[in-house]
Symmetry: C3
Subunit: 367 residues, 3 copies
Amino acid sequence: MIDTPALVDQHCHGVLRTELGLGTFEAQLARTEGPPAPGTTLFDTQTGFAVRRWCPPLLGLEPHCPPARYLARRRELGMIEAGRRLLRGSGITAYLVDTGLPDDLTGPTELGRAGDAEAHEIVRLEQLAEQVADTSGTVESFLANLAESVHGAAAHAVAFASVAGLRHGQALAPEPPGPGQVRGAAGRWLAGRRAGDELSDPVLLRHLLWIAVASGLPLQLHGLGAPGTRVDRTDPVPLTDFVRATAGLGTDLVLLHGYPYHRHAAHLAGVFPHVYADCGAAPVRTGARAATVLAEVLEVAPFGKILFSSGARGLPELHVVGAQLFREALGRVLGTWVAEGAWSPADARRVAGLIASGNAGRVYGLD
Amino acid sequence: MIDTPALVDQHCHGVLRTELGLGTFEAQLARTEGPPAPGTTLFDTQTGFAVRRWCPPLLGLEPHCPPARYLARRRELGMIEAGRRLLRGSGITAYLVDTGLPDDLTGPTELGRAGDAEAHEIVRLEQLAEQVADTSGTVESFLANLAESVHGAAAHAVAFASVAGLRHGQALAPEPPGPGQVRGAAGRWLAGRRAGDELSDPVLLRHLLWIAVASGLPLQLHGLGAPGTRVDRTDPVPLTDFVRATAGLGTDLVLLHGYPYHRHAAHLAGVFPHVYADCGAAPVRTGARAATVLAEVLEVAPFGKILFSSGARGLPELHVVGAQLFREALGRVLGTWVAEGAWSPADARRVAGLIASGNAGRVYGLD
Amino acid sequence: MIDTPALVDQHCHGVLRTELGLGTFEAQLARTEGPPAPGTTLFDTQTGFAVRRWCPPLLGLEPHCPPARYLARRRELGMIEAGRRLLRGSGITAYLVDTGLPDDLTGPTELGRAGDAEAHEIVRLEQLAEQVADTSGTVESFLANLAESVHGAAAHAVAFASVAGLRHGQALAPEPPGPGQVRGAAGRWLAGRRAGDELSDPVLLRHLLWIAVASGLPLQLHGLGAPGTRVDRTDPVPLTDFVRATAGLGTDLVLLHGYPYHRHAAHLAGVFPHVYADCGAAPVRTGARAATVLAEVLEVAPFGKILFSSGARGLPELHVVGAQLFREALGRVLGTWVAEGAWSPADARRVAGLIASGNAGRVYGLD
């Protein structure tokens, strides 16, 4: 048996602080552009079925019980107690929490306490820049404050995360922009900006990426298809030139959530020493197919370059299914290879430990 | 056991009306640019093997009998009787028939009668426009007749189908063209056109799509790699902007035959409420691999957004293998997930019914 | 049981002539841009695990023994004797050897002798052109010598190979360049060139491809992601227009190593009579996943259009794992389809023979 008792969730978010009804819970099960089509429900998805499989037993119910019954029990226990039982049932022993979402979600400390686990912060670069812009009067002070903020964040965070690839995709030039370019772009952006506006200027996005690269902290590059973007923005291949430009500088790049381009992410992790492939988020989305999707990542990514995450946000149920689906999928995939004689049992156990927690411990300097 | 006794084939064509020899039958097994390479035969494909597995028993022969023996028996029964036996053995209870191919194929009524099934028409937009052009004298009458024809077709058809994506791919702008643009394009096209010419002007293709969207009838977007095009034209991702532009208008879009981009089609069906993913055609092409390809569609497409079709054209054998491969694949995939505990048996049966016929019934307003 | 006793390796390279230590051996296990990341090793890859599974028994050790022990035994036997034992244990009966790598590798004759097998040469077009450039004084003599060299090579080689697609990808126009264009490009390239420089001018690359097409010899198009390129350069879809332009001329095109675009290569082999899909190299890279990747090629490629290769270079271990993984994968995939009733046993054995050696024999005119 291949087991992974301790999991480091190398990329997730916090959970909502409010009690949820059937509709508000359902809306967290997928990122969609609009409500479910008439006659359909997001519970009828791999994610919905996985939640119904794994979570009811943690709250004392039968697996696969109807959503309404599950939510009634969840409200009966209260959001806080339900969250504690779920997170503590996930097997996750450390959370790396991306705090860069606008929603009111629990932070690392609160998530760690609820889950009785370690917790660390991942700082979202674009959000940091937007906050700095909100409080800086001039271009010079904005740029100085930005550099200081990134370096300050590097002192307490375990990683940076960026959505620059999603916001600009192929248009993102690989080199750091020159100082004049950066000042010009900052001037234009600050002049036209209202508080709360998103950063989407490509020169400033590149500038931010390069400040982060200089910090030496691992840099997570988001690939999750967000509403309003195209799924091919999640393909990491167009980032190849940026990846090549950052090679040998001592900073690791982590490609997040590449599905359906996860084989491409695995390829890049195989070619570039400083690139790592996340195998998370896809299991939560693909449920009963998690083992196959995980196996596809294991095709060409070196086993020392693959990292587990849940990619969960909003619902502790998603941390649970991210962890349980991964654990079961990894056990099944590696167990099959051992049974077929392709891998030795000792190698399989060792690789399981690397992907579940060992690689993350090494990359993020956890103890 | 997961069974699907009744299938709605949501996209297929009619069958040929002539007796076929070995060569003419073989030529219908795949869409190729030229005859088989020397020393090879299209019977040596997944489609050919699937036909040899499923069809001979319906005509009283052993599975996997040699092609020549099968065709001799087919001719012995006669094309009409063989077609009746095949179609009635398929388990398809309703055919939605795209009548927009130039070949002399049976129409919906004739196909339904042969198969003892319901039948409905899907109107191909480009063919409609070409017919209108053949009979319209001026730009103004062409445009008026076009609008009238589309609205007239909407009264009796269950859906429209379009090959605009294939003919123009990424170049297709998402917005409806302005009236002046449309008149200009129509004038140029009509002036240069000879009877029978295909419509490939991008402005007119977009105009057609938007008239169809306004009708409220579901719109099927072809993705099947046709000879003369490139397979990346079948990738639905470049249609994302058009898809987003049509959201919320009350018209459903159905992405046909996305292989090898079926995971992309499934993703779009997950993100956009009005988008549906066809899981047909791929089984006929991939034969013994149908279960895996179907499972890939089931990864991220909500289960209420997946539609069965055979995609068959020309040979009733293709309706049979489309249906049988789908039925067996779905039973195997869902049955495995039930056996693994990932899905409950009740959910599996319910989802099987949705994909086999329930979703199509809802989307196309069948009873 | 589906067995493939004799394999024709339709694309490989020779092996290194030097004794290897742990580090130099490891460096041959993958094409990377830089040394393994700290704390990781290329032995922890599917390729590394496959080598440890299949090769130690051929040298009298246990499967999965530690790399250091394996290398000690390899040095004890000596590179020559170890190579003989490995190659003769591979089951490969004919090697088609691409001699166009700069490394000091054994040639076809030496490889065939070591492996007790037939061996034939594949001539790399770009290397041929670079050699001609090194010895030609003028544009006119360069172009004349080039044509002569290609035709001379066609007399003794079994195929040409080209990396033009990798070097230029989508930018490669499909038509043959005109004589003036070719002279101009040759003049500029020769003038700016230093001995040893690579040919990367797109006009000359196209000119070379068309001289090769005119020779009638099969033309292998490289798709393997080389360091310094992007993996999407390995997608054969952008070559579609070139493929269409060369249809009907009597020259076969062989698409090499398409992973992760192997389904695209299979599609092209299905559409174009003169296109063949290599199913090699991917097994060596994907190890325990070889059966799935092979099954993906078998989805839409006609069975008479699929060719085995190891894609091996540098280490005889890679010829061994290429052959063993293929043999086991093919047996498992086809055996499963027979067990499921999808294929007849006789068809499965026949198709196994075609892919293992029959198709290659026909395409390359081997006896």
